[in-house]
Assembly symmetry: C2
Homo-oligomer: 356 residues x 2
DNA sequence: CTGAAAGCGCTTACAG
DNA sequence: CTGAAAGCGCTTACAG
């Protein structure tokens, strides 16, 4: 079945023969920093060009014990936040001369097949950018001596490095914003309830509302999924005491929520109902939605992720590190505004109440 | 700098020693179809489990001359069509026991760095799913004996395999639909003008309109880019003789076009202006947009792509093959309807005029 | 079915 | 600076 006729590919020995030098010399020519005279180097380069030689990265990996491959595990790409992350990761990893091996799709249970692949390919590092992956997996990798960084999530035990934004602070900020906007009754459409992002965002939201005397948040479960968010908000808006402000755990769901509110319930946003999201993803900026949302500084998050990974690979130290960045509450048109606290920054409107 | 302390990893020799068999026996245990007795196999498996052994895929690749890695080159992921494709590709490739090496970001000029990487990693196949990549590149790969499949595009010279939908037919269908809907003046927001998809979609559109006596299509260049599409449509709608129907070369731009028409020009869609897109991407289904659009059968396209690649890898034959699938004109709310020809299928409304 | 051995295409001490 | 040689962890004829 596997009778492929892939061309063998030119080897360093063939180049050596052609150039009249040793195979070692060819290798050194293509090893940055190796000691090689300009003259030999030139001879090798000529021969290599003639033959169309390119070093075999597979063979190199075998001997250096470094694949220069980073595995990125991303359960789903439907939420545009993740493709954006992926693109930026690709860019930065390429700059560091690393390749990106992508694992996508739902990994059931402890997803051993994926883990197996990671291990078999001897990837130099792993980025876990999805909320549905078992934290078991990440610790296993760390045990195997492979640097792992969690992107946009943490595990309970803090044993694995992570890059997140201050989700709790974000939830709190959103609550304060809605309170300042004079809202009376508060709803929450959750993400996946066990995820750290969801837990923290909700915790902050609830705390700040409780501090203002609001203990009766109406909660619906959206699981970071459009369809489930639609079902949840349908139920929420069908109540006689429906909220006049809903914090939706991410923009991806907020878009669906807005469509249901407008087109199924005939509500005006933000007059009848205020919506606040999270992420500041592409569609949040589209005029039809104009979602007021907590931004996540994607570029800086990716930068931190790649930086941490590179650091751990270089040093061999796999000590868990947790980087927490700050977002901004970007104010658009999906929520009623407070009287004060809106400032202009970088061409965006930000909610930044001056602390007394 | 690179003083990594990545753990060496268990080797087959270590497992062999532990199991009291030869290293060959260990290898055979992990090679499906190799001749090995159940007893030896069991001994090896036990030892492997104890030591946490996993075959080194890098070493295996070196000797088999197959990496089981497929490179996917995708210039940008902003258009949700591509993340969807990526996810499906990941799924199918995993099923075939292949890994996905992702190359993203703009490749300038002839993007030799990327090409270099592809060659260095000895990927078994390449999927080119982006319109901005040089066709030069793809032919170079084919020359090197690596199967290449173009996804959603073709090259002029047909030298490289491709999977597309019948874009010309699609453009024609859209024109017929708009004509049947009684539109009088036609616009077109193009994609990247040199791309095969754009050329074909526009050609079909223009042909069918011309056949009905409309030779004066108003054209704006959108380059498959939201911002450019916005600029283009702004100019188009500012004309005194603005169109009452616009075919936008993909949904990604159509969304932006609709927002401009509605919120900058105060137009009602579809009463004042009909919009038709292409792809049937997620946002086209969102209630705020409800874009009438030519669908591209993503799953079948990906299936065909992976199938062709697998076939070429297995046979070693790299003969260019061109698979052209058919889409449907999915009718939603962004365009005025013809009196006849709308049928229900799979829960969607389709435009399917009965040929006389 | 099994083991000893060659070899995949490189990198990297080692000796000169 | 250079070359001969060992070795990375496997697969796969080959002989038994």
């Amino acid at each position: 079945m596997d009778s492929g006729v892939k061309k063998p590919g030119v080897t360093s020995s063939e180049v050596a023969r052609r150039a009249g030098v040793s195979q070692s010399a060819v290798s050194r020519t293509f090893t940055p920093g190796a000691s090689i005279s300009p003259k030999t180097r030139a001879k090798v380069m000529d021969a290599a060009k003639e033959l169309g030689y390119r070093p075999n990265a597979i063979a190199r990996s075998l001997i250096t014990n470094r694949s220069r491959i980073i595995a990125v595990v991303m359960a789903y790409l439907e939420n545009l936040f993740y493709p954006d992350v992926l693109e930026e990761l690709g860019r930065l990893l390429a700059k560091e001369n690393y390749r990106l091996l992508l694992f996508t799709g739902q990994m059931d249970r402890d997803s051993d097949p994926v883990f197996d692949q990671l291990m078999q390919y001897r990837v130099d590092g792993i980025i876990l950018a999805s909320t549905t992956l078992s934290s078991h997996l990440s610790e296993e990798c760390a045990t195997a001596g492979i640097p792992v960084v969690l992107f946009n999530r943490t595990t309970e035990r803090d044993a694995v490095s992570s890059v997140t934004t201050s989700n709790r602070e974000g939830g709190r900020r959103i609550a304060e914003f809605l309170l300042a906007g004079g809202h009376k009754r508060f709803g929450y459409i959750s993400g996946i309830e066990s995820s750290s992002t969801n837990r923290d965002r909700f915790a902050g939201y609830r705390e700040a509302l409780a501090a203002a005397g609001h203990d009766d948040i109406v909660v619906g479960v959206g699981n970071y999924n459009r369809t489930e968010a639609e079902v949840a908000v349908r139920q929420m808006l069908g109540r006689s005491d429906r909220p006049d402000a809903i914090f939706v755990a991410n923009d991806h769901m907020a878009v669906a929520v807005m469509d249901v509110a407008r087109y199924e319930f005939g509500l005006n946003i933000p007059e009848d109902l205020s919506i606040v999201g999270y992420d500041d993803v592409g569609p949040a900026r589209w005029t039809s939605y104009g979602i007021t949302t907590m931004s996540q500084p994607l570029k800086r998050m990716v930068e931190a992720t790649v930086g941490m990974l590179m650091g751990q690979i270089a040093s061999g130290e796999i000590e868990a590190e947790h980087r927490i960045l700050n977002g901004e509450l970007v104010v658009r048109t999906s929520a009623r505004l407070p009287k004060t606290g809106i400032v202009e920054a970088d061409g965006r409107r930000i909610y930044k109440p001056s602390k007394a």
